[in-house]
């Protein structure tokens, strides 16, 4: 790991945002021989307001939905220059990945470009003010899954299983990471960086603003996401799935739900909490 910092202070993330933590550490692991592509979203906006940048590696943002394609261009380009060992890392939000950027990502996976694609998953469109994305979990309030007499639940669709979808693309490496489980996180980033081809990582990204908890609780809440089993940690190497963290027994999902304002309306809705628990249990029953 590199002692230098490649992502520096002075960025404009909300106090308590997990995204800078993620980015900083990924870059410390990857080192200076790294090209970064960033989709439009919180990270891009809080880190590069002209004429300031928090990045010390070559960095590019072009649009919201096309990071994977932009990365393909860089891959082709640097290969032609003989730069065979530089890393290309995409940082893109869940919206930029699971929704509007899925096609570009899928295309890149088919082509097999040498890119590590990291989706930082704060589970909504945060940059535009907490709208639901396909990665928003079932039952979460967002500004486009409003709670009211006609909607007691919040988002009614389940979280799109993006990691599974990428695994179905037969890419060589896919994993989930959570910085709250730091060693697991570090190991996977290192491993992913060592593999060629398209690699995909779903990185949980706590967001006090959108999840509605105190900024100081970000890492704590993220820990709960995994300890309850809601955000399992695993990796899939060439199709082989392996759980990398097991909590036994798992903490009840209610403990995760009750600490976040986005689930406030569910606090006493036991039916829905039970349903969520059941879904989590059923997932784990397979592994």
């Amino acid at each position: 790991m590199n002692d230098n910092e490649y992502f520096v202070s002075g960025h404009k993330a909300c106090a308590g945002c997990s995204v800078p933590i993620l980015v900083r550490w990924v870059l410390k692991i990857a080192g200076p021989d790294t090209f970064v592509v960033n989709a439009t979203g919180c990270l891009e906006v809080f880190s590069t307001p002209y004429p300031y940048t928090s990045w010390k590696v070559p960095w590019i943002h072009t649009a919201f939905e096309n990071s994977a394609a932009t990365a393909t261009g860089i891959d082709a380009s640097i290969k032609r220059k003989g730069l065979l060992n530089a890393h290309i890392i995409v940082f893109a939000g869940d919206g930029a990945t699971s929704d509007i950027g899925l096609q570009a990502l899928s295309g890149m996976a088919e082509r097999g470009n040498d890119v590590l694609y990291i989706m930082y998953d704060n589970e909504a469109y945060m940059n535009t003010g907490i709208q639901r994305s396909s990665a928003t979990p079932y039952g979460a309030w967002t500004t486009t899954s409003e709670i009211g007499t006609e909607n007691l639940i919040g988002k009614k669709e389940k979280k799109k299983p993006i990691t599974d979808i990428m695994v179905a693309h037969n890419i060589p490496y896919a994993a989930t990471v959570n910085i709250a489980f730091f060693n697991d996180f570090k190991d996977k980033i290192k491993k992913a960086l060592g593999i060629k081809g398209t690699r995909f990582i779903n990185a949980l990204a706590g967001c006090p603003t959108g999840w509605k908890h105190d900024p100081s609780k970000t890492v704590e809440v993220m820990k709960l996401a995994t300890r309850t089993g809601i955000f399992p940690l695993y990796e899939v190497v060439n199709g082989q799935m392996r759980i990398t963290y097991r909590q036994d027994p798992r903490i009840p999902v209610g403990d995760y739900i009750k600490v976040q304002g986005r689930f406030k309306h569910l606090q006493n809705n036991h039916a829905v909490i039970d349903e969520i628990q059941k879904n989590v249990d059923s997932w784990w029953s397979k592994y």
Partner: protein
């Protein structure tokens, strides 16, 4: 036309304060506008919001450059930002602060203080670390500036603040009662 600028931090409710003031003023017979500073700043960062009142139709769509009143919702901002910028000579400055102070740079303005933070905490608005002071500060506003009625503010709070409505009303009234104005 009367223009008010609110200073707060992202997430503290400065924008809501500006909006409620506009609604109250409209009910008092003004034409109104309110809007936030259109930035990309995030929670915690200093933010601004504005209200315009006029007895005739407000047609302009431009920033507020020379406010008639400036309201500071968070006293930690006092050392951070140039909150006096553009304030008209003789204009009002309302600061959320426990206790008064004499400050050279306030000369030429009418300065008022209200301990909106304590009032908010007392009324269980927000948390101790991040109290929501916007309704309290509006109580102070009507006390000091008087172009909008206290009752109109209270009505606007009733209509637009759906959680802890009672507490907010109390906070506004308490602030109204506990705002000190003068040359210190």
């Amino acid at each position: 036309m009367f223009e008010i600028r609110f200073h707060g931090r992202g997430g503290q409710g400065a924008v809501t304060a500006a909006n409620i003031l506009a609604i109250a003023a409209f009910n008092d017979g003004y034409d109104v506008q309110s809007f936030p500073f259109f930035g990309v700043e995030r929670r915690g960062a200093p933010v601004e919001a504005y209200t315009r009142l006029d007895k005739k139709k407000i047609r302009i769509k431009m920033n507020v450059y020379t406010p008639d009143a400036v309201i500071v919702l968070d006293n930690s901002l006092l050392s951070e930002i140039d909150f006096l910028y553009g304030l008209k000579k003789g204009g009002d400055l309302i600061i959320n602060r426990g206790g008064v102070e004499k400050q050279e740079q306030y000369n030429g303005y009418r300065v008022s203080y209200v301990d909106a933070t304590s009032i908010a905490i007392k009324n269980k608005l927000g948390t101790e670390n991040s109290p929501i002071v916007n309704t309290a500060i509006l109580g102070a506003y009507v006390k000091v500036i008087k172009n909008v009625k206290l009752n109109s503010i209270l009505d606007a709070i009733k209509d637009n603040v759906t959680i802890k409505t009672e507490n907010n009303l109390n906070a506004a009234i308490e602030a109204f009662d506990n705002t000190v104005t003068g040359v210190f």
